[in-house]
């Protein structure tokens, strides 16, 4: 008995102290970077530290940040979706086109949202039913959705009605509505991911899908629901962007997928699935906004900004990998 027991204890590292479990996490690193960025940006420019300005600047990325929350869940489930920014554009174009054609606004909004849901379903169908890797599927649909948006809107922009413009300027308790939506969505999805059976199952699928299926987890159904949620949320984000800009063009949100992936990665989501938190993405979204806003208001040239963002991403990926390899359970 003891002969079997002894080598086992020798292989296992000693149990980590509780403080290490809490402190050595990728989210902690994101938080530290966020605080450092706040201080750095305040030193860089006297115009930076102004809550109103920071919140206003966040509205420029809020739509991407909201989508990044769902993307985090998809990445944890072991998949990826690179089409949400194109989905935003196509949904917004369909909505704008519909309302311009005289369809009543509530119906036009419903058309936009439904289109997003359909786009999510197409991604989900190809990934789950046809078993094509999600990175390939969504690179394809990224191009397809953007192309369709251009077919619908052409090279012109479509105006939206005046009352629909400016969701980002609606303040509730001093917080722009889109930022508030982001915060509420973070809380809801954070609770779902960390405290519900559904959430635990997402982690299990991402860690080992075959094992999860053998354990009776309906991985296909869960993944499909995530792709559908992604489609719907992307469409909502597209409509929010339309409201913020006051007009819709096919290039709405162009390149946004990279920002979304960046937010998830910076927040410590593991690109191969199974790990990551909503809190991490939440903090990373703020980190990205603080870093770019701080440098922009200090008139730092964009070339330097790109270098800083690149370094930030590489540092966080190395740290995330290091932390995960150290804390392998």
């Amino acid at each position: 008995m003891s002969a079997i027991h002894t080598p086992a204890t020798r292989d296992l590292p000693p149990a980590r102290p509780r403080w290490q479990v809490i402190v050595i996490r990728p989210e902690t690193m994101t938080l530290v970077l966020l605080i450092a960025a706040l201080f750095g940006a305040s030193l860089l420019s006297p115009y930076f530290l102004d809550v109103g300005y920071i919140l206003r600047s966040f509205t420029l990325s809020a739509e991407f940040a909201i989508v990044a929350l769902v993307l985090t869940m998809i990445i944890i489930a072991g998949e990826i979706d690179l089409s949400p920014a194109a989905n935003m554009a196509l949904s917004a174009c369909l909505f704008a086109f519909a309302q311009q054609a005289g369809i009543p606004m509530p119906l036009a909004i419903a058309i936009g949202l439904f289109a997003g849901l359909v786009m999510g379903a197409i991604n989900g169908f190809m990934v789950i039913r046809l078993q094509i890797p999600s990175i390939i599927v969504t690179i394809g649909t990224l191009t397809l959705y953007r192309g369709l948006a251009q077919v619908i809107a052409g090279d012109k922009s479509i105006r939206v009605p005046d009352w629909f413009i400016g969701i980002n300027t609606v303040l509730i308790a001093g917080i722009p509505l889109t930022v508030l939506i982001f915060i509420i969505a973070s809380i809801i999805l954070g609770v779902v991911l960390s405290m519900t059976i559904f959430g635990r199952q997402i982690y299990q699928i991402g860690t080992n899908e075959v094992a999860a299926r053998h354990a009776g987890i309906r991985s296909q159904r869960i993944k499909m629901s995530l792709f559908l949620l992604m489609g719907l949320v992307s469409a909502a984000a597209g409509l929010m962007t339309a409201s913020r800009l006051g007009s819709v063009r096919y290039d709405l949100g162009l390149g946004g997928e990279l920002q979304m992936v960046l937010m998830a990665m910076l927040g410590g989501t593991y690109i191969f699935g199974g790990r990551g938190t909503i809190l991490g993405t939440f903090l990373a979204a703020w980190l990205l906004v603080i870093v770019s806003t701080g440098m922009t208001v200090a008139n730092v040239p964009p070339s330097v900004q790109l270098v800083v963002q690149g370094v930030l991403l590489i540092v966080s990926i190395i740290a995330t990998n290091f932390i995960y390899s150290r804390t392998q359970r």
Binding site: P46, Y47, G246, T296, N299
Partner: protein, 332 residues
């Protein structure tokens, strides 16, 4: 803890902002389409020199890419910095409407320089454009005619099929060729599009030469197109038979002018746009110039400037023609 830092920081920064406001000279910022574009260096030069003599503070910023919304964070940042004047070369005719309105609501003078918010003019205070674009087409046809003795087959090598400025000019060229008897012996045989890409422009130029053996002239009203066309003529040694002209940058065209590949081309002076914009901005903020349609004011070196319809101003009446004689006077 984060919140506390933010709040103390807020109080601090507010105090700093208010003190900064009181003493500073007029602050002007110019937001370009994107960085690394030599064209904007020239506009910036005009702003800088004007601010040196007028005593204003000038800064140039630009996003890394020229996509529709990339300038928005920069406009927000300049509002936050408390500038008095935002001059911008807009990347979109309407995506900037909301944020420019915010700037105007804060009392900032919003000028578009070297490009306008076509159809959304109410979202800026005034626009400074190099020339009256309705004259660009006829100007180019006249230059082409003078090079080929007003007779023979000519073609146009343009940017993209959708490019709004180029399409305006091409329409005017067609109109001039058709209706002005002076050009009755010039025949436009083709209009092709190089998409403002050097490779595609070169291919299109090569195709023109092989499809139309009687071609004597090519007008390329885009800086990328004219450089590509000149390159083809130079490498094929065709300068004697096919004349290339259009709109080009002196810095890119200097060698072709010097070796005789191109005898003349046109553009405006981007420098003067910055020069005029700074003088106008300082005048309006200082109260010496009224931003009203029909108003006039004096600008050193440019003479009397009239504020035309839709609060538009031009730096020059006609295009500048660059020839071997004057090419060295321009460095943009």
């Amino acid at each position: 803890m984060l919140k506390k830092t933010l709040l103390t920081g807020l109080a601090l920064s507010m105090a700093m902002v208010t003190t900064a406001y009181a003493a500073d000279p007029i602050k002007i910022v110019y937001i370009g389409k994107n960085t690394g574009n030599p064209y904007f260096d020239s506009i910036t030069g005009g702003f800088e020199d004007a601010c040196k003599s007028l005593g204003c503070e000038f800064e140039f910023v630009a996003p890394a890419t020229a996509e529709a919304t990339s300038q928005i964070p920069f406009i927000e940042a300049q509002i936050q910095r408390g500038v008095n004047v935002i001059a911008i070369a807009p990347n979109s005719p309407d995506a900037l409407n909301q944020v420019l309105d915010t700037a105007k609501a804060k009392g900032i003078l919003v000028l578009t320089v070297n490009g306008d918010l076509v159809g959304n003019e109410s979202h800026r205070d005034a626009t400074i454009l190099p020339v009256d674009f309705t004259k660009t087409g006829p100007n180019q046809v006249e230059l082409m005619g003078s090079m080929i003795g007003y007779k023979g087959d000519i073609a146009i090598l343009s940017a993209t099929t959708e490019a709004p400025d180029q399409n305006t000019w091409i329409a005017a060229m067609n109109d001039t060729l058709k209706n002005d008897a002076k050009y009755k012996d010039m025949h436009l045989v083709a209009t092709v599009y190089g998409d403002d890409q050097p490779e595609k422009s070169t291919t299109e130029m090569e195709a023109l030469l092989s499809n139309y053996p009687n071609l004597v002239g090519v007008i390329a009203p885009t800086t990328v197109g004219i450089a590509a066309a000149a390159q083809v003529i130079q490498s094929r040694n065709l300068a004697k038979t096919v004349h290339v002209t259009g709109l080009g940058l002196p810095s890119e065209m200097r060698d072709f002018i010097k070796d005789g590949t191109v005898s003349a081309f046109q553009l405006w002076s981007p420098y003067n746009e910055g020069w005029l914009a700074a003088h106008f901005a300082v005048g309006v903020v200082g109260g010496t110039i009224k931003n009203e349609v029909g108003g006039t004011f004096e600008v050193p070196n440019l003479g009397t400037i009239t504020i035309a319809d839709k609060n538009a101003m031009n730096t020059q009446a006609e295009l500048t023609t660059f020839t071997p004689e004057n090419i060295d006077d321009f460095n943009f």
